[in-house]
Symmetry: C2
């Protein structure tokens, strides 16, 4: 609620006074445009103003203005989040970091990059590739999402199964705190344990403890890998799931192990005519990246596990066109399905051995609640994204979709899973998080939030159940 | 300070009442034995009692008894810490986890292990190897240190250069909080972002936020690697350092890249007669673990970088006896040097490219302060352990050693380094941490400590400058 001594109007006036004119938006259309991220189903309210920050100081100015008037600050990158973490709320100012796109330093010797939070994942990737370096984290949104957003949600991606998630690459950061102070956290060295790991605490905290405005990211050498693709088709989701479990328990670590189901394949093909295979229920798209004979052997072992799990077909090749088309289909699945109606995106993660059972339960949910569920999955991590689709304007279908969503979360927990693998709690997973985190652990969250943001300025109500 | 309503004697009486008799020690000799870890130079005071916890509940009982009497709890594993993080203080109870040695579960399919905090690193390693699994973190103390101690200090080791540190393998944990409550943090799945990353916050927090009593650790497949050793000898530390920088900037990621200097080699050989080479100033011990031709190529590239950095000799082989002897020497360096007198252990980490200059500065410190400094280093990470030795009972030498220690810390910071790469702040690095962490960042530490341990029960005064 607004501070008694300073009104929301004061805060907006202060923003106009302290920031360049083109950096403050208050037109209704602009406010609506910045009111939510890509979580179609979560609550949002138009903010009072949008700050298009161009510098760290712009962010600090906005936070101070909001704090002085008892307003809230919702920071966002490209707004591609899928849990509502960047959805605006009453009495809030949205601070967009999309204009903070400078890559400040690429250090090839130390294999690190320093960049502003608004740099797109792909732009970062290309910039470091020019120095022979590789930034692995590759969320499906990599062409349109920012590294700041990736860090604040601890985004995953396709390569996680072998190369880890965003947090594994964040060495340090610059953060604007709840009172507008700016601090440096972390390090530039390969190792370091000075003090608490506040960098790790900030990663995934969804802008509730501080606003990440600059990142120091660890990189890997670009070369030294050789892609081999292995593609299997299956006549049921469970069969594909069994192949995943078998690959995992054989100790095989692929560089990608993705699943797409019939609904996805058909939606993508209807939109983009990629000539994808029809008539199969699920496909596994795998890659290994070991060099030479080791890569061959690993690809062979993967293919064997798929065949033994009753794959209809298994194809191998050095990054075949077919595999490329399928990985493209994997990336296009989400926008393709959005054409069919609002998509309620799940993001559960179960132990790899439970993938077959979880896929069966998802199908049961679709059947029992009479909704269409398309499945894409980082199957090799047990991270499944059932996408529940309700036709636009069909309120009853939407209600059924919500029931299916909740049941999938329950099933995931029953199988020892976690309610969000890589999208974050945001707003959509608050009910699931209540059950996953014990009351005492929630209390720890609250205590830390209060310690770092006593006035509740930064994105309150997100990331953990309050 | 003791709580007004309950005396230290009450607390000890309560421990005797609530715990089995053999789990509470109060004999002076026992108190002295548990009064400090392996940081010879840091302050310590005998505790009032030592609890040899056998269960999670024993730990909780001890914490509650201490909290009720306003005492402090210092948790420890094997006491092999090198920064004084487990040193006891006035009005404290030491809780040793050394008897909590159960391995609760090895899940080969999910590649994880659940174990109590007191399990020795090597015991864990062997237990999971029987299932075809590998736990990479390998501090030099791996035969004698516990996984709980490793986690609470975020221990590194030789394989970090390629495989990361302890925190990269901690999926979840059970923690006893400052009021004796027991919570589960983290997950068992490959990925997960439900709530703040409290697991990462606990790792490296030196028992100041909670006592880690059980760990869920991620494992890798045991097989699929092939060791090749590359050993270079050099006529100066700087030349060896230049080879390290060249290897790093060439984008080569070895599975080990260690440095030992003449002082270490001679001390080890004098003790163990391993037949080590004499007359060289420094040696680099490297391994790569890629399979087949890729491994050969990488080993060749490493050898070439060493040769170009003017190595006196470069030898290659598939894990030669010579290399094994040298890696053994690397591990024996610390105990060998301790025979010569109390060792003040440095643990700085600089950018890899600054390793040559840092080594030169360390030599200058030895010369200017007239002390013996032996160097062992995880050179590939830029993590250097200059070991400063003062003869037993020589107060003047000890004072000079302290000056050299401080100057090395200053030099490290001047080169963009961090004051502790893997040993932790404990007590020894508090002065260095003051300069590395900004006042506002220290304030964040204090706020988090206060949020999780408002009464200051858990190991106060460690991990960050108060």
């Amino acid at each position: 609620m607004p501070h008694p001594n300073s009104s929301p109007t004061d805060a907006v006036a202060r923003l106009r006074r302290d920031l360049a004119p083109d950096r403050v938006l208050t037109e209704p259309a602009d406010l609506a445009r910045y009111a939510h991220d890509d979580a179609e189903w979560a609550d949002f309210t138009d903010p009072l103003a949008v700050v298009l920050a161009e510098t760290v100081d712009d962010v600090a100015v906005a936070v101070r203005a909001a704090a002085a008037s008892g307003l809230h600050v919702v920071a966002r990158g490209a707004g591609t989040g899928l849990s509502g973490g960047a959805n605006a709320m009453a009495d809030s100012i949205v601070v967009s970091l999309e204009r903070m796109t400078r890559i400040l330093e690429v250090d090839a010797d130390e294999r690190l990059v320093v960049a502003e939070a608004g740099v797109l994942n792909d732009d970062l990737r290309q910039a470091v590739a020019a120095h022979g370096l590789w930034y692995p984290p590759d969320p499906a949104s990599h062409r349109i999402s920012t590294i700041g957003g990736n860090a604040t949600t601890n985004a995953g991606g396709i390569c996680c199964v072998k190369y880890g998630v965003t947090r594994d690459y964040v060495l340090g950061m610059t953060v604007v705190l709840a009172d507008g102070d700016v601090v440096r956290l972390g390090r530039r060295t390969a190792k370091g344990v000075t003090g608490y790991d506040l960098t790790a605490l900030m990663v995934g905290s969804e802008g509730t403890l501080g606003i990440i405005v600059e990142l120091t990211l660890k990189l890997l050498p670009l070369g030294g890998r050789e892609d081999r693709a292995i593609v299997g088709s299956f006549d049921s989701l469970e069969a594909a799931g069994k192949a995943v479990a078998a690959i995992s328990s054989a100790g095989i670590v692929p560089s990608a192990l993705e699943l797409i189901d019939r609904n996805c394949i058909e939606a993508v093909d209807a939109w983009q005519s990629l000539g994808l295979p029809h008539g199969v229920e699920a496909m596994l798209l795998a890659r290994v990246d070991e060099v030479g004979a080791a890569g061959e052997a690993l690809a062979g072992a993967m293919a064997e596990r798929m065949a033994r799990a009753d794959a209809l077909t298994v194809e191998r090749g050095a990054s075949t066109e077919e595999a490329d088309r399928l990985f493209l289909a994997r990336r296009l699945a989400y926008p393709s399905l959005e054409r069919l109606g609002p998509v309620l995106t799940e993001d559960i993660c179960v132990p790899r051995g439970r993938v077959p059972e979880m896929l069966a339960r998802i199908q049961a949910s679709a059947r029992d609640h009479d909704v269409v569920i398309a499945n894409i999955a980082h199957a090799g991590d047990g991270n499944l994204h059932p996408l529940i689709i309700a036709p636009e304007g069909d309120g009853a279908a939407k209600a059924r979709a919500k029931l299916a969503f909740d049941r999938i979360v329950d099933d995931c927990r029953a199988l020892g899973g976690t309610v969000t693998g890589e999208h974050g709690v945001g707003l959509l997973k608050l009910p699931g998080a209540v059950h996953e985190l014990s009351p005492r652990v929630v209390e720890l969250h609250r205590a830390i939030k209060l310690a770092l943001d006593p006035e509740g300025v930064l994105n309150p109500g997100k990331a953990f159940p309050a």
